[in-house]
């Protein structure tokens, strides 16, 4: 009898605890709701079954009337950048890189990362508002994925990719996705930017899928156990434009901290939040003095590709096209399990926890144009940049340098574009005939091709700005101020600890040794003469 009462009492005493528990569990959900003023699940426009991406965009535009017009002006849409100083047409539309070459004739594959629908050839309508893909950036469900060869469309029915494989690319429920749109996130931006070059981490080295949910050690800003920044926390402007383009990098932000209402409000430089003298003043103020010549990233990104995903460091197209004895495609992996040969693409090398390469950089990058002459006897730099010790706008920046071998026009001594992807027999991935693939792409782009190709080694510099480490992990002085430090290759300036003048040191030590020797002899002489006198 008593025991029953006791039990009840105990249960009653648990009620406050239980209710507290329930309350805490319910709290995050409640918070998530109050962050926005619009619940898209309640919008009439979105209560329909969408058959395609453009249909969703149509619905979006019925409220967000200016969104597509804004997107139309951006690099995300145009893949084009006219350099204000040189007038050169840059951007993905024209640049030849040393990954998959160029987008010319390969549109449907490359434009699976375009912020639009249907860019499958030169006839793409850049003025159509419904061609803008809202969902790829604003999806919050994680179910919306552009199909790799869909020219920007997601699959509308479940399809395998790679073709004929067992990996099924699921068609998203467009109504569900549309009703749950939200702000961009590391996941939405990363869907393209983490996979540049054709796969996870291939291109940048400081951007890969490990940055979707990094910890602070991997990226101090985006770490989910810390500040949990989205990409747009820094890369934000107005009207769907995004700041922080590489074509003109702000290598040194002399403006310092940006204050809303007073400043340009572009937050994509370190200085726009941290200022240009961010370190606590100690007995020496050298760290703050360094900001005029050393980019923040140089010390604060001690290594890159350190999230457990490798980045591609070498891509040799000259070995592509090999088949096994029975005529099948070859695929081999290195000791770590990373693919180091595929018939379609040639040989690769990968790296993790890589030490960046360093160079003076004023932010002005020059890209090798398709019609520009190259020296066939040397390594061709696809991009070069201005900057030196004497340039007040330049600082020492860290880079990932992508190296590889790619086809070039042996007769004209120019780079070439290559038609890799397509169902036609000119496509390299069908015929494995470089001559046809080059001719097809060059013809399509109205570029001159001599008909004779070779392979040339190229470099492509990628400035590093992500995977900023915890400050405890930042480089110390001796990483550079040492005889064989990280900056041992940079010239044109005197760096204490690394440099000295041979003659100064030689005569200096001779003087010291000379005095020691002199007084030793003098003292010895005195001792001898003293004993003689006795």
């Amino acid at each position: 009898m008593c025991s029953k009462n006791c039990c009840t009492l105990r249960l009653i005493s648990l009620i406050p605890l239980l209710s507290l528990l329930l309350f805490t569990v319910a709290l995050p959900a409640a918070e998530a709701i109050i962050k926005t003023t619009a619940d898209h699940t309640k919008f009439d426009e979105l209560q329909q079954t969408f058959k395609s991406g453009p249909e969703v965009t149509q619905a979006c535009l019925s409220c967000h009337t200016e969104a597509s017009k804004q997107i139309h002006k951006t690099k995300h849409w145009l893949w084009k950048f006219t350099h204000p100083d040189t007038g050169e047409e840059l951007g993905k539309q024209t640049i030849v890189n040393n990954f998959c070459g160029a987008i010319e004739t390969n549109y449907a594959r490359c434009t699976s990362c375009h912020i639009g629908y249907g860019w499958k050839d030169n006839s793409f309508d850049f003025s159509a508002e419904t061609n803008v893909d809202c969902l790829v950036c604003h999806d919050t469900t994680g179910t919306y994925k552009k199909f790799p060869t869909g020219a920007g469309h997601p699959p509308y029915v479940d399809k395998p990719f790679p073709p004929k494989s067992k990996k099924i690319w699921k068609a998203p429920d467009l109504s569900q996705v549309a009703q749950r749109v939200g702000k961009t996130s590391r996941k939405t931006c990363g869907a393209c930017h983490f996979y540049g070059g054709g796969g996870d981490g291939i291109k940048h080295g400081d951007l890969d899928s490990s940055m979707t949910n990094p910890n602070q050690a991997l990226d101090v800003h985006m770490g989910t156990d810390g500040l949990d920044f989205a990409c747009s926390t820094c890369h934000q402007k107005e009207g769907h434009d995004v700041s922080g383009s590489r074509y003109i990098t702000q290598a040194k932000d002399k403006h310092g901290i940006d204050i809303p209402g007073r400043d340009d409000n572009i937050r994509s430089t370190c200085e726009s939040c941290h200022g240009d003298r961010p370190h606590p003043v100690t007995v020496n103020n050298k760290l703050n003095d360094h900001t005029s010549k050393i980019a923040c990233t140089t010390c604060h990104i001690p290594t890159y590709a350190r999230g457990g995903r490798p980045t591609k460091t070498w891509w040799d197209w000259s070995t592509a096209g090999r088949m096994s004895n029975d005529g099948k495609h070859i695929k081999t992996k290195d000791a770590k399990g990373y693919v180091n040969y595929v018939t379609k693409k040639g040989s690769f090398e990968w790296g993790e926890n890589l030490v960046p390469e360093y160079a003076w950089y004023s932010g002005n990058i020059r890209y090798k144009q398709l019609d520009e002459k190259i020296d066939p006897n040397s390594v061709v730099a696809i991009n070069t940049f201005e900057g030196s010790y004497d340039d007040p706008d330049a600082r020492i920046w860290p880079f990932k340098v992508m190296r590889g071998k790619q086809p070039f026009d042996k007769g004209n001594n120019t780079l070439v574009t290559t038609h890799l992807f397509g169902k036609d027999s000119d496509a390299y991935w069908k015929s494995f005939d470089w001559n046809r693939a080059i001719k097809a792409a060059m013809d399509a782009g109205n570029a001159d091709y001599s008909g004779e190709y070779g392979f040339i080694e190229t470099t492509y510099h990628w400035p590093l700005a992500h995977m900023v480490s915890l400050k405890e992990e930042a480089l110390g002085c001796e990483s550079c101020h040492a005889k064989e430090g990280r900056l041992s290759n940079l010239s044109g300036f005197y760096m204490p600890g690394r440099d000295n003048y041979y003659w100064v040191d030689l005569f200096g030590w001779l003087a010291v040794l000379g005095t020691v020797g002199g007084i030793s002899l003098h003292g010895l002489g005195r001792l001898l003469s003293k004993s003689n006198r006795r």
């Binding site: 100690t282 007995v283 020496n284 050298k286 003095d289 005029s292 110390g476 002085c477 001796e478 101020h481 040492a482 005889k483 300036f493 005197y494 204490p496 600890g497 690394r498 440099d499 000295n500 003048y501 100064v504 040191d505 005569f507 200096g508 030590w509 003087a511 010291v512 000379g514 005095t515 020691v516 002199g518 007084i519 003098h522 003292g523 002489g525 005195r526 003469s529 003293k530 006198r533």
Partner: protein, 200 residues
């Protein structure tokens, strides 16, 4: 009979604190120069900078003391003849047991060569180090004083040459002060307690 205090309490304090500071600056300075690794570059820089400020403070104090007491006259150059006799003594006489050519007084406590050596040290070598060192430290602000096109390497070289001069001075100084006194380590005793042990 009262003993002659050649070195006042302040001078002894000045001498020994300066000695410690200079040794510290040499040790950290040559690490910064890249000659060896000991404390780590950042620690070396921190200590070198800190010691520099302390040394500058000490110098200002010493400058004040020397001007107000008139002791700066101890460092005025002697006439050429007495200088030459000192040189001769160190080159010849000292080996033959000749008597010391210089007769020490309270108002002239340093022999002619000492006076010259300390004058060169304080008026030539030290200023070279101070000026080059301060320029080195405030490298960032050169454009403000119109030095934007000057070479850090040149300043560093001058600073290093000064450091080698000091480093060369130390063995000579130690040798002469420790081995040439009448009683063993008499000068060392003087610099510690201020006076000789007994009247000569």
């Amino acid at each position: 009979m009262s003993q002659i205090y050649y070195f006042s309490l302040f001078e002894r304090f000045w001498h020994w604190s300066q000695a410690i500071l200079i040794f510290g600056m040499l040790i950290t300075g040559f690490e910064i120069h890249g000659t060896y690794q000991l404390l780590g570059y950042e620690q070396a820089i921190n200590l070198h900078t800190l010691l520099a400020w302390v040394l500058i403070g000490l110098w200002l104090l010493a400058l004040f003391w020397h001007t107000t007491t008139g002791e700066w006259r101890q460092y005025l150059p002697s006439d050429a003849d007495s200088m030459m006799s000192m040189v001769k003594y160190y080159l010849v006489g000292i080996f033959l047991g000749a008597p010391h050519p210089f007769h020490r007084k309270r108002a002239e406590k340093h022999n002619p060569m000492q006076r010259m050596a300390y004058l060169i040290l304080t008026m030539i070598i030290s200023p070279i180090i101070w000026v080059s060192g301060i320029l080195y430290l405030f490298y960032q602000y050169w454009p403000l004083i119109g030095m934007s096109s000057a070479s850090l390497g040149l300043v560093a070289a001058v600073h290093t040459i000064g450091a080698f001069a000091i480093l060369s001075f130390i063995p000579i100084h130690l040798y002469l002060t420790l081995t040439t006194s009448e009683e063993p380590f008499g000068y060392l005793r003087e610099m510690i307690v201020g006076h000789e042990s007994k009247r000569g």
